[in-house]
Symmetry: none
Subunit: 179 residues, 4 copies
DNA sequence: TATGAATGAGGTTTCATTCAT
DNA sequence: AATGAATGAAACCTCATTCAT
């Protein structure tokens, strides 16, 4: 990937996230990336192609996070693993994820793109099994609830400082009887 | 409010929610509302003015929902009240809220507008006090968590059928030791 | 003429003069006149009708100024009269004329309207005769020159203070051997 | 400067002058220039940017005319020079100046733009000094008067034929005792 | 006399995109 | 790989004007 192509990609993530996809013009991206507008179309064919490239990148990272969890077998470790990985992601790629999150929540269209390539359904199945093994009465509802929470918590952690992050994760773990 | 003005407002809520604000043209709104495009600007000055009117309406409803809770004193009733009112809103104005929710999550700009006029901070204070009185160890974190969840839960309920809705609310209440 | 009609007229003169005719919207006139936009059209039929009313008013004043000069017979008095009347107009209706002048120079269309109803040609004929009687070698050119100047001088006087006005008029008279 | 850009510029001068700035639409300019409307904005950013480009061009020409006069020292030559240069300009770029003049007199806004970049004040200072050296009693007023005249005369000459032009200039020179 | 609701036509400007170089 | 010139379509918005009341 050439420097200019990468510059386009990064500028686009930034602008799409902060201004919204529909609200960000290719001309603005070009200007802020220090690149001719035509180059965007050479490299990504479309404005939508540019979005796809970003989403693909995001899903790659997301899968890298989900995959190790999918390999786990001990039910308690699975649920605990979710929280630990959350903290890990937040700490190591905070900026990247901040942008990805806002981007994801911007329109059903974009959300769909994110969902398409992800391993989210595998994760849901795994969690449901874990809750069942742990003897929870309503594993489906528990899975629902924890997945809902994960998104909101993730978003919250991204804005918090290190101490706040750790104490909140610990709070969650104790609440869920995991440590 | 004249019929045409109301038609504009409703069409706009619908389109902004499903297609996104930036992605919905005033000409499309006019066409679907059966109205001249110029009328939109006569009544709302701007495309943004139209959005503001929608947000104002949404905040009014939201406050109508929060206000009765703010009047409560018994801590258990307060938390239980949140869930009951959630169900109430979902049942009585499902369509309206479905649209408002998607709209709210569409861009930081719009979210900010929603926040500006709301009584959300009052609700947070009340909940924190309730958790403290109930003897929770970490009232602030509990409040944080429940408020995070409420949004996600609300969104989930809006898509569920009546049986699913009720059973999930009951699940939440029992999880929170409230019934 | 009702109050509201007059208010429209005055606001229009003001705005047309400072912002230009094409650049002044009927809605702005209505707003600044404290009147509904529809009323403009009730009273003047058109935006152009409104302009016509203003021009008619301007020409009336202008004729009132030219007429007494047209009645003179002594050549020296005629030329001197021009300057004296200039000063008179400037002093008595400065605001009105300031507006009229800028308006007149704003577009060929408007200038044409002003010319149509005026007695300017009569004045030119009279001046030419006066210069001839006074023995000037080139009465036509002298008339040309003085008429050219009158517009510019008038515009200049409108911006000057009383002392400046008087001294400049005296300067002109002495230059023209008239006092 | 590409062909199309120049075509836009020339068409705009023409239309702004004959129809007025506010009354000339960018779509009309584009059509008559044989160019897409978007290109106007690519090259000049704004409708106002287009006007600015025209004014800049006009001021450049105007300065080219004033500059040689500013280098003169002999007072009589200075004043005579003004008339001669007037004739020169009228003869060599009549069309261009005709348009510029009408444009300049169309609105205070435009006139201000013209004034901003010009060397008019230098010319005024020079003339005042010249009149002083020639022993005129009221050099300031003389300068005022001649500058007023120059504008009007210029406008008049632009519409006159060659013979008329020459005879009027000669008339002026003799009147001002310069030949 | 006066207005508020409404509109068709057209205004300036921006958009995503193509093409020749 | 990279760009500058160019564009058709559509964006938001304003305009002068009409009509029912």
């Amino acid at each position: 990937m050439t420097d200019k192509k990468e510059s386009i990609l990064n500028t686009a993530i930034d602008l799409f996230s902060t201004q919204g996809y529909a609200n960000t013009s290719t001309s603005r991206i070009a200007k802020e990336a220090g690149v001719s507008e035509a180059l965007i179309f050479k490299h990504f064919k479309n404005k939508e192609g540019l979005l796809d490239a970003i989403v693909a990148q995001g899903n790659e990272h997301m899968n890298a996070f989900i995959t190790p969890i999918l390999g786990m077998t001990d039910p308690k470790s699975i649920i605990e693993g979710m929280f630990d990985f959350l903290l890990l992601m937040v700490r190591e790629h905070a900026d990247f994820w901040k942008l990805q999150m806002t981007l994801k929540y911007q329109s059903p269209l974009i959300a769909a793109k994110y969902h398409a390539a992800g391993k989210f359904d595998d994760l849901r199945t795994l969690l449901e099994k874990a809750y069942k093994e742990l003897g929870y009465q309503n594993p489906k509802a528990e899975t629902n609830l924890i997945l809902m929470m994960l998104g909101s918590v993730f978003t919250y952690l991204l804005e918090a400082d290190h101490i706040e992050q750790e104490s909140f994760i610990n709070f969650l773990k104790s609440k869920y009887n995991l440590s």
